[in-house]
């Protein structure tokens, strides 16, 4: 189904995802963008059913936009994460959605919140999701260090995604990365043949 990932660093967050959407064994879209903007400095990484996550993300974007206008302030990442949790928990039987919410706000800087299937909400410094995540827990646990710079986080995410895309049949295509900081947003795409390479038998 996917590989998605998010990492906190001092000034913000780095998020990444693969680009494959499948219907059964056929790849319906090989260049999907699973990093969806919810607000100016808040993104969500979508995994699970495309229809469900697109619908939930649209609903939360609307609610957050409305809330932000009422507040007359940029919204908190925690607010966005809670909106996702409320929707995913209430409709937990009907939805198949695993979402990672990540962004920057003035109060707490860069934050990553994970809302897996079932509707739990927990903040984590680094989080992975989707079917491809199973293959990279070991890599994440052994290679993550706190206090990495933005460039180190980008490299870490790219390597993790490359490993997952190599092993998981439901992940592949290109790797999409984004870095969100106070200053703004930087999006990059790493094409299939430019991904970091590792040993392969």
């Amino acid at each position: 189904l996917t590989t998605i990932m998010a990492v906190e660093f001092d000034d913000g967050v780095v998020i990444g995802a693969d680009s494959r959407t499948t219907t059964g064994a056929y790849i319906a879209n090989r260049v999907t963008d699973k990093l969806t903007p919810i607000h100016d400095r808040i993104f969500c990484c979508r995994s699970g059913s495309a229809a469900d996550t697109q619908a939930v993300a649209d609903a939360v974007s609307y609610q957050l936009g409305f809330h932000s206008i009422e507040l007359d302030e940029p919204p908190l990442v925690q607010t966005a994460a809670n909106l996702f949790k409320q929707m995913c928990y209430r409709y937990r039987e009907e939805l198949m959605a695993g979402i990672i919410v990540a962004g920057w706000d003035k109060r707490r800087g860069g934050q990553v919140y994970t809302v897996p299937m079932g509707g739990m909400l927990v903040r984590q410094p680094v989080s992975v999701g989707g079917s491809g995540s199973s293959y990279i827990y070991g890599f994440i646990d052994s290679n993550y260090r706190s206090g990495m710079s933005k460039e180190e986080c980008l490299r870490f995410t790219a390597e993790a995604l490359a490993l997952a895309m190599e092993r998981d049949g439901s992940s592949g295509g290109v790797a999409r990365l984004a870095a969100i900081t106070e200053a703004g947003l930087e999006r990059t795409v790493i094409l299939g043949n430019q991904l970091p390479t590792f040993f392969s038998a």
Partner: protein, 279 residues
């Protein structure tokens, strides 16, 4: 004195009615025990495709509608009008695709009158996906929406469960795999009109020849800033061949060498009269 009606006329509720779903489920169970099957919804078994070229969007579709393994319509129209600058190819259940696109067209015209602006392709896509998501995939309508508006040429695919993708080239339907292979091989950004039309024609032809559910002719719809041009039966790759000759021979072709006649003596054993009901 006037007699009151025992039943009052009830205004039908708007939208789809699933009242008969439970009855249908029981009926299907009962029929299958006896070896019969319930009539299936007619699926279009289709190849539809769309690309973005230099000046706009080209949509293409085959024209075969199937009822299980029988061709129900040899020349149906799968490219539906939504707005003067937006057209929609429909695959999946024929009735669902037809009605849904007609509903969208109505709503978009009303919306456009309300906003005072020509409709946007994103609006069509959003309304489609929000409706399909609400019905959780029970409306079996897979659609490619293409058009040119103030934001330029755009192409979206929408699946029955309500997910959408925005891409420069798209195929859907049972012949999607055959058609996408043609696009993956030969698509380039900013193609010229004739090259692009030929490419879409070739992709649909791949579906017509390599997919059992698709056939007959290729319909194209070219949409640019100036407007839309619907090319019905742009190409007929699978025309029925012309009969070369006949197998009947003139009497006298074979010479008669000898002739013997043997009359058979028959007795009438039983005689019965069956009257035809000619009322």
């Amino acid at each position: 004195k006037m007699l009151n009606c025992s039943t009052q006329y009830e205004m039908p509720n708007a939208g789809f009615s699933f009242d008969n779903s439970r009855r249908n489920a029981v009926l299907e169970e009962g029929l299958s025990e006896k070896g019969y099957s319930a009539p299936k919804a007619r699926k279009t078994g289709t190849t539809i495709a769309g690309i973005i070229f230099k000046d706009g969007v080209i949509l293409g579709a085959d024209t075969r509608a199937t009822d299980d393994m029988v061709v129900a319509d040899k020349n149906c129209m799968k490219i539906h009008y939504i707005a003067p600058n937006i057209y929609c190819c429909g695959a999946g259940v024929a009735a669902d695709a037809e009605i849904t696109t007609q509903m969208m067209s109505s709503n978009i015209e009303l919306h456009s009158l309300s906003t005072g602006r020509p409709p946007l392709v994103v609006t069509v896509t959003r309304q489609l996906k929000q409706m399909l998501f609400r019905y959780q995939g029970h409306i079996g309508c897979s659609v490619i929406v293409g058009g040119v508006d103030v934001n330029g040429p755009q192409l979206y695919s929408v699946f029955p469960h309500g997910s959408y993708d925005k891409l420069p080239f798209l195929t859907m339907g049972s012949g999607a795999a055959a058609a996408i292979s043609v696009f993956e091989d030969r698509y380039k950004a900013n193609m010229e009109l004739e090259e692009a039309k030929q490419l879409v024609r070739d992709a649909i032809a791949a579906g017509i020849f390599c997919d059992l559910g698709s056939g007959s002719n290729v319909d194209l719809c070219v949409i640019t800033e100036k407007g839309a041009e619907y090319l019905r039966a742009y190409d007929e790759p699978a025309k029925k061949g012309q009969r070369g000759g006949k197998y009947t021979y003139k009497p006298g072709t074979t010479p008669v060498l000898a002739k013997t006649v043997t009359p058979l003596t028959l007795d009438i054993v039983e005689e019965s009269v069956q009257a035809m009901d000619t009322q």
